[in-house]
């Protein structure tokens, strides 16, 4: 795929940087994902070769960890906390509101690629539950109105051309 060949310089830089790092696979995957938004399948043989691992081992690690993606992310990722503290402050009702507002399930992505939903289990904001993380920024003491506004902000934004 053409967009994946564009990632090669990033990939080579990352692999070179971690040439002497012991146990380098997670730092490498994080760095690739930070650079290109996901871990393209075309990167797997290169990583495997650099670390002297089998491709199956690399794929096994990518699939084991919830954080690693093999496909490009939506423009925004909203992670609503579903763990106990947030549940005790109404997280399930907020999750239902999200499903209804977006017509998506808990792991869904909107058809226009604007927003992906993902559950998360604790953001360390439990003293101010309920909480969510939107594109790396935590929002706590969430209310239904605030959640609706955050989602609308993601959907209404004009695509950069």
């Amino acid at each position: 795929m053409p967009d994946e060949t564009l990632d090669l310089p990033v990939l080579q830089r990352v692999l070179e940087h971690h040439r002497n790092t012991p146990g380098a696979l997670l730092p490498i995957l994080h760095a690739i994902q930070a650079g290109t938004g996901y871990v393209p399948d075309a990167a797997v043989p290169e990583i495997a070769h650099a670390l002297n691992l089998s491709q199956a081992e690399v794929r096994g690690v990518i699939s084991f960890y919830h954080d690693f993606r093999s496909t490009p992310p939506a423009r925004h990722t909203l992670r609503l906390c579903r763990a106990e503290s947030c549940q005790s402050r109404g997280a399930e009702a907020l999750a239902a509101q999200l499903r209804e507002q977006l017509g998506l399930d808990d792991h869904g992505t909107s058809a226009d690629g604007a927003l992906s939903l993902r559950p998360v289990y604790c953001l360390g904001a439990c003293a101010c539950s309920p909480a969510l993380e939107l594109d790396g920024q935590v929002h706590a003491r969430l209310t239904p109105e605030r959640l609706r506004a955050l989602v609308e902000g993601c959907l209404q934004e004009v695509k950069p051309c």
């Binding site: 670390l51 919830h66 289990y121 604790c122």
Partner: protein
């Protein structure tokens, strides 16, 4: 010149601290007021965040929770009579919630700027390291043993014994690994400490390295904590530049590296964490061998929670006897409890062990945030038991909680009011286990999925006899999980489930034991 402090803690920011700081700077500039806004750590009094503090000759005055909209009136009041502002809290250190705490680990919380080495040193930083550098490693280990410090990550194993094992293990390369995966819901003390006082953790790890003979340390931080990762990375750089990682006088070099997890709860389990650090899937290892003997890359490794390692500098600086003066029985020192969930005054309460759960939830926490009756509190994260209010007079002590079939774990307390459905929470616990299981053993991998199904059948049924059957099946399943799992992921998933079933049978549609009698 007015000096104002606002936390840069990620949760203070999640409720508007950045906007407050920006609005203050802008409005002060507009008014041509000489104001300096500094970003400190958080006091952990989260219900007051964003908490603004004003330096005065009598100490810091607090205002909170303050938002950007309050800025004009705040600046008016600061110029005239600060105590007249509706958000005025008086001297922060006199707030009873804080004043009655015994803050050892969090002594600097809310006071210092997290990445200022000067602030850290001015407030007692590196005193423990200075002492340790002049001591024989064996004496440092003896001090940790003597202090009574136990692991704060969950299992509460005596730290000193682990240190001695690693120290006595002959190897050219040893490691110190900090478990900063803090996956437990309802806990945030590790996060606060890493974001707010990263040099304390670094100091603890350097001392540990010196004592056990390790030259390399890793801090494994969960990816959900990007602010902690940033703070630690910068703090490691600053500490290295200032020469702290090349321990002055000792000739021992110690290097530190921050590693980021990737969203797997099981990587908080120490052997899965080591696998992850080695670049593998986070699959739990069978013990023995103990990580203390064959840990990271097969070498002797000291694995500790953030709070365990961060307790060490105080023990060295003030002495083991000072530390063990706090607490009760075999639970010595202080624990930063974390009040979360449906609680009016959520936040961090560092106290010696021995206060009761009721004091914590009612006196500090002020009861439920909703104002509705308290139903239960889950102590110690997602693998902890739900404790009903009838047991709230139990002292917070490892052994007393173990006797209840509960655990203190990492000190998280999630409070629930009477609207929380305990059958739903039991189902959630099984579901969470099914999702996060590493898959190595059958009770955990398969049993948790069966558990979800049994609970669903139980709740859906209207036939009392069938319900009783399913409840018995669920109890059996809990036993199988508890006694047949390789690690506490499967083993302790039984706790929240069995405790919910025992104390709240009505939520499962079962007759309560009293009604049956």
């Amino acid at each position: 010149m007015l000096t104002l402090s606002i936390p840069c803690d990620s949760v203070a920011r999640a409720v508007g601290a950045d906007q407050l700081a920006q609005a203050l700077t802008d409005e002060a500039a507009r008014r041509q007021l000489p104001v300096q806004v500094q970003r400190t750590s958080s006091r952990g009094l989260y219900w007051l965040e964003p908490l603004l503090e004003l330096d005065t000759a009598e100490g810091r005055l607090g205002f909170g929770p303050a938002s950007a909209e309050d800025v004009p009136s705040l600046l008016d009041a600061l110029a005239a009579d600060p105590s007249q502002h509706p958000l005025a809290l008086g001297p922060v250190e006199q707030i009873p919630y804080l004043k009655t705490q015994q803050r050892l680990l969090f002594a600097r919380a809310g006071i210092t700027r997290p990445l200022s080495l000067d602030d850290y040193r001015t407030h007692g930083g590196f005193e423990g390291l200075a002492k340790a550098a002049l001591m024989d490693g064996a004496d440092v280990v003896a001090a940790v043993l003597e202090s009574g410090l136990r692991g704060r990550g969950g299992a509460a194993f005596p730290a000193g014994i682990k240190w001695r094992t690693v120290r006595d293990a002959p190897a050219a390369q040893k490691y110190v690994v900090c478990n900063a995966d803090e996956g437990d819901s309802g806990t945030f003390a590790d996060r606060m400490l890493m974001e707010g006082d990263p040099f304390l953790l670094i100091e603890g790890m350097i001392i540990a390295g010196l004592a056990v003979g390790a030259s390399k340390g890793y801090i494994y931080v969960r990816s959900e904590y990007p602010d902690a990762v940033r703070a630690l990375n910068e703090a490691v750089l600053l500490a290295r530049e200032a020469g702290y990682l090349d321990v002055t006088g000792s000739g021992v070099a110690f290097d530190l590296e921050v590693r980021v997890g990737a969203g797997a709860y099981i990587c908080g389990e120490e052997t899965a964490l080591l696998e992850s650090l080695e670049g593998k899937r986070g699959i739990v290892r069978a013990k023995p061998p103990l990580p203390a003997l064959q840990g990271l890359f097969g070498q002797p490794t000291l694995v500790h929670n953030v709070l365990t390692l961060a307790s060490v500098p105080i023990i060295l600086a003030k002495g083991a006897a000072f530390y063990r003066d706090f607490g009760m029985g075999r639970s010595l020192g202080t624990l930063p409890f974390q009040l979360a969930g449906n609680i009016r005054y959520g936040g961090l309460v560092e106290r010696g062990f021995g206060l009761t759960l009721r004091e914590l939830v009612e006196d500090y926490g002020g009861g439920t945030a909703s104002g509705r009756p308290l139903k239960a509190a889950q102590i110690g994260g997602p693998l902890g038991a739900w404790v009903p209010p009838s047991q709230f007079d139990t002292p917070l002590d490892y052994e007393a909680f173990a006797a209840l079939g509960a655990m203190i774990g990492h000190g998280g307390v999630v409070v629930a009011d009477d609207t929380l459905d305990m059958a739903g929470m039991a189902r959630f616990a099984m579901q969470f286990c099914a999702e996060e299981s590493c898959g190595k053993c059958t009770p955990c991998r398969i049993g948790s999925t069966r558990g979800v199904e049994v609970i669903e059948r139980l709740i859906a049924s209207t036939d009392p006899a069938y319900r009783e059957d399913q409840a018995n099946l669920l109890r059996d399943l809990c036993d199988t999980l508890q006694y047949g799992s390789l690690c506490a992921m499967g083993g302790m998933t039984a706790y929240p489930v069995a405790s919910a079933l025992k104390h709240f049978p009505a939520d499962f549609g079962l007759a309560s034991p009293e009604a049956a009698r």
